[in-house]
């Protein structure tokens, strides 16, 4: 699927704000509900923060890429880098909650690499309305 939006920028912490704003514009165009946008922004922020903190050695500036597409009421966001990949890091400065948080917020999460040697976190978010609660009315 060709992404509707591709954003490539230096993997720096301050650039995560640009990604969040770009997602806001994307959500405007596709009428994504505000509550869902908050989840998407949080999950994508975590994925981007992983790139900023872990993907590249401290003395190397790398690229962070965010690709977003919308199809059949489902928004797919991929966060890519060309760094050292996802691997255990005992000296990690974070709490290690990023991927768990992404998994909690997204419908599906896939981690991987491809032939272009990039590392990718692929998240999907369903924009379909959840059915009303059936509490007290079940069999």
């Amino acid at each position: 699927m060709t992404p509707d939006m591709e954003l490539a920028l230096p993997a720096r912490a301050e650039n995560i704000a640009i990604v969040r704003h770009a997602l806001g514009g994307f959500a405007d165009a596709f009428a994504v509900p505000e509550s869902k946008l908050a989840d998407i922004r949080l999950a994508v922020t975590e994925a981007c923060a992983n790139v900023v903190v872990h993907a590249y050695p401290d003395d190397e500036e790398g690229t962070m890429e965010v690709l977003a597409s919308m199809q059949d009421g489902e928004m797919t966001v991929r966060v890519r880098d060309w760094g050292r990949g996802i691997r255990p890091r005992p000296d990690s400065p974070g709490l290690g909650l990023g991927l768990s948080l992404i998994a909690a917020l997204a419908e599906t999460v896939q981690l991987g690499h491809d032939d272009a040697e990039h590392t990718e976190v692929r998240m999907t978010f369903s924009l379909h309305e959840e059915p009303p609660s059936m509490n007290g009315h079940g069999p």
Partner: protein, 151 residues
């Protein structure tokens, strides 16, 4: 990015360039304006110049957004013949370069020509310090460069 991926990625790697590729249509304006406003805000641009830069974004996005509403071609391309538009923005506290990539010479000239507003004139020519339509010998495409000043 796909397409001219490697060279673009390399240049993004070595400079503080933000690159954006968007489907032609209603996505253009909200995303481009937000990204450009964030980049210029971080570069400490004054509000009036930021406002003018957003006018430039509006002018660049108007053709694609307008034609996707039903008047576009059957293959989904906009009236300058692109299904997708690629932009880059690079800024410091003094100046910014906003580029539109992967154009043909005709589409680049048309983008400039159609930025004309009644009573105002050509928005791009009013706001930009310099407008350049450049072809890279190593690339089949043409790019439109708008040099903007923070002063």
């Amino acid at each position: 990015m796909s397409g001219t991926a490697t060279s673009e990625r390399e240049s993004a790697r070595t400079a503080s360039v933000t690159r954006l590729r968007l489907s032609a249509g209603p996505l253009l304006r909200p995303v481009l304006c937000r990204v450009v406003s964030m980049v210029l805000t971080r570069a400490d641009w004054p509000l009036d110049r930021l406002d003018e830069a957003l006018l430039v974004c509006d002018a660049l996005c108007a053709p694609g957004a307008r034609d996707s509403g039903g008047a576009g071609s059957a293959d989904g391309s906009d009236h300058i013949g692109r299904k997708r538009l690629t932009f880059s923005i690079q800024a410091d506290e003094h100046e910014a370069a906003l580029r539109v990539w992967e154009l043909t010479p005709e589409s680049a000239e048309r983008l400039v020509r159609e930025a004309h507003l009644p009573l105002v004139g050509n928005v791009l020519e009013h706001v930009a310090e310099r407008i350049a339509v450049e072809s890279d010998p190593a690339d089949a495409y043409t790019r439109l460069t708008l040099a903007l000043s923070a002063r």
